[in-house]
Amino acid sequence: MTTDLLFSGADWDFGRLRRTYDAIEEIAKGEIGLDTYPNQIEVITSEQMLDAYSSIGLPLMYKHWSFGKRFAQDEVLYRKGMRGLAYEIVINSSPCISYIMEENSMAMQTLVLAHAAFGHNHFFKNNGLFRQWTDARGILDYMEFAKDYITHAEERHGHQAVEQVVDAAHALMNHGIHRYPRKRDYDLSEELRREKERVAWHEQNYNDLWRTVPKHEATTQGSKELAERKQRLNLPEENILYFLEKNAPKLQLWQREILRIVRNISQYFYPQKQTKVMNEGCATMVHYHIVNRLHEKGLISDGALMEILHSHTNVVFQPEFDDPRFSGHNPYALGFAMMGDIKRICVEPTDEDRAWFPDIAGNADPWGTLRQSWADYRDESFVLQFLSPALIRKMKLFKVHNDADQPTMVVSAIHNERGYREVRKALARGYDVSQMDPDIQIVDVDLAGDRRLILSHRVTNGILLDEAESILVLRHIANLWGYEVRLIEIDAETERTLREFEDVAPTVTLG
């Protein structure tokens, strides 16, 4: 049996990596049915790992002081031993690049290969959000372009001029995303079909009574002029960077291009923000199954398995709410627990599961079900769909309602029959992107008058913006726009103005 082992001892070499990769691939493709981009494994040193950290995980990145700052920060934490480095970084590109560290033992490399090169890779290739928003084949070329462009801009216009634009763009990074699918080209036959359908529907549902209902006089949106202006500028616009890139009156071409670059990078990372739980859950689920199968097949030793499981349990550790280590839900833990639970529901469902998940309970195809969920969901919808009562009980989830106007917080739901749905809904809400970033839109600009740009924040649940920071961001917007900027916070439900920031004027002249 020992002769079957892929490796023994801690040292790795390229031959062992390759043998192990092949063994993993057999399980990943054969048993789990994963479908991946071609893999490229790159071995790097810890210093290079720190480098990769600081450039938000992309192998190519333009130069900016904030990356230097991040590097300095990580370096201190790492050198003082306060934080270990990640064992791997994986990039959503084709071929899918996984960075693995030379310090890892062979057992760890096995784990990393299964986790990144198969788990994450499959998720990148198959998840709907990634398919819709990112171009895995083009990202590295685009980054190459971006890096060169900014380097040339620095040479031509000076470091400082470029830095000012990039600083401003970074401040607006989260507001440089198109959140809705782009328009597709029209397909004539499709249009005809739809037209016919609409007519048919109209004829079926015709009711003469509607004719008698009095019509509204005018729009409630204010004057006709305002409506026209908004129409012309495509307002309201929530993609602030896009709006500035296209409409800021003073910017020069290269400055617009930089805004575009930052916007595109932000867009590229948009799906990752929405799928942390699923992405990590998928990768963790995959590596857990693969290393156990490797062990069952006698390909890795007991010792190697123990080492792998040791770091696996560290990764999926979820401290409880009153633990000093608690800092929110651990996406690895939640994702892994939910996916394990789905597997259980598919294979050995209880009556409760049959009632809650009639379409997957007992279908005896756990991997098929998981693959389906990896492809079609994001964190929010995944939790909303698949968080089972059994898991809520197991994790002892409870919901706390915190209203700043009340003297105390209230436990509004716990893990019982009455609370399951509420807990599940609230947890899912927490992963909703519209909940993560405040809803800020450009609502008006007076082009003929003082050219003041007006932004509004639609406040939900009475949570206002952080004032000091918002003023800094407004200053960046003003610098890009070239004229004054005003921000108004409006309650989304009552349309009441909650707070009005003072007009912020540009401090430097760009363009």
Partner: protein, 433 residues
């Protein structure tokens, strides 16, 4: 699957980012570094430091929701005994319990800590300081020469032959003069051989033979390498600036010098040393301590062993003169000296010391700094020490000598900067900084 070994890729990929970061934070870092130097040992500083700077100007702002206020729902794991409807007191820190609402990038702290390498630290620490009149003296005093590349020449020794140039010339000459290529000759020879074997086409054969002869003749006439082609690397002697310096540390160790005063002196010496090592490839240090007699000693003895006796400053100057004459010829070495003393001197020696300074020491030196150290709490305003008065006559405007008084640690660096600042005032005789 491809496995690529990236470990040998060039290092320091983020160096450019780091430089941008340091440039951005320059003012804050400068301040932190200067402050750090006030109360820490200079040897420690030189080993690279963890500095901590305020976050101003380094924040990366974004639109974020405030940490407080409004209505929030949190889902938390690990319920023990809460049931629906329980009231929980709000934790002191505010809305932090949700975890998801905590500071977005973990930078809630006001200060930012990071490590500066030794090089970076010194760059910032000694920024905008300059050695006085360095360039002028160097060139005047340099006596050694080094050879530097200076184009090509047609004559030279074989070991300087530049193959690439030579072959390039040869190639272009061969093309210009249409020297037949060896392949062309071989081709004709092969065809002749073939025709000789078969015996066909005798006319063609004789034609080819003529052709071959012509080719060979031309090859002989146009040589492969002609003496005309040959080029040599040319070197020219350039005067080499003196890149070595010696630093003399002179210190009074008589009983009147307290530990505190010695500490001040040591700090000043260390600073000067650091500064010199950045300007010169090689820096020697000579320690001379004196009471009523002077001796060259090693560093430990210099700073730590105690000696009793009177105070005769001129003995140290004499000793320095001896060492210079023995080992450091002023033509080859840049000589710097720093003297630290509490200002006491035997009354009869003051005149002699000033005279020696004027006639012997200052002409040798690139720069001579006299630091008068005082007790921390002693009020010495209004009274000039004997030595100070004596030296004052020597240190004339625009000269190589400067003198300063230092009483507490925090004054060391300002005094040092004052002495070496680029736009140094031409009259370095001021009293207390």
């Amino acid at each position: 699957m491809n496995v690529i070994d990236r470990r040998l890729n060039p290092k320091g990929k983020s160096l450019a980012n780091r430089q941008r970061f340091l440039r951005r934070a320059r003012q804050q870092i400068l301040k932190a570094v200067r402050e750090a130097s006030g109360d820490r040992s200079i040897t420690d500083i030189a080993n690279g430091e963890s500095v901590s700077i305020p976050m101003d100007g380094l924040r990366e702002p974004g639109f974020h929701r405030a940490g407080k206020g409004g209505i929030r729902d949190h889902v938390l794991p690990g319920n023990r005994d809460y049931v629906e409807g329980d009231q929980i007191a709000r934790p002191q820190s505010g809305g932090g319990e949700g975890g998801s609402e905590s500071s977005p990038d973990g930078e809630g702290e006001d200060d930012f800590h990071f490590l500066l390498s030794k090089e970076e630290f010194l760059d910032i620490f000694l920024d905008d300081l300059e050695l006085p009149d360095l360039v002028k003296k160097n060139i005047r005093q340099s006596e050694s020469h080094s050879m530097a590349r200076a184009g090509y020449s047609t004559s030279g020794s074989p070991n300087n032959l530049n193959l690439v140039r030579t072959m390039r010339n040869s190639l272009s000459r061969r093309i210009a003069l249409r020297r037949p290529k060896p392949e062309a000759v071989a081709l004709v020879e092969a065809e002749i051989h073939l025709l000789e074997e078969s015996g066909d086409a005798p006319e063609r054969l004789s034609e080819l033979r003529l052709e071959l002869e012509r080719l060979l003749a031309r090859s002989r006439r146009v040589p492969y390498i002609d003496p005309l082609d040959i080029r040599y690397n040319r070197f020219e002697p350039v005067p080499k600036p003196v890149t070595q310096a010696v630093m003399f540390c002179l210190m009074d160790v008589s009983g009147s010098m307290t530990e505190h005063m010695k500490d001040l002196a040591k700090r000043f010496f260390m600073l000067l040393y650091l500064f010199l090592t950045r300007r010169y490839r090689h820096v020697d240090i000579v320690f001379i301590r004196h009471t009523h007699e002077a001796k060259e000693v090693d560093e430990d003895t210099f700073f730590y062993s105690t000696e009793t006796g009177g105070t005769v400053v001129s003995t140290a100057l004499t000793e320095m003169k001896r060492v210079v004459a023995e080992r450091y010829s002023p033509g080859d070495w840049n000589i710097y000296a720093a003297q630290a003393s509490d200002g006491d001197n035997t009354a009869s020696d003051n005149h002699r010391a000033a005279e020696m300074m004027e006639d012997v020491i200052l002409p040798l030196c690139q720069y001579f700094a006299y630091i008068e150290v005082g007790a921390e709490y002693k009020d010495w305003l209004g009274r000039e020490t004997d030595l100070w008065r004596a030296y004052k006559g020597v240190a004339r405007p625009g000269g190589v000598m400067a003198m300063r008084k230092v009483r507490v640690r925090s004054q060391i660096f300002p005094v040092f900067r004052d002495l070496f600042a680029k736009d140094r005032a031409p009259v370095p005789t001021g009293g207390e900084p």
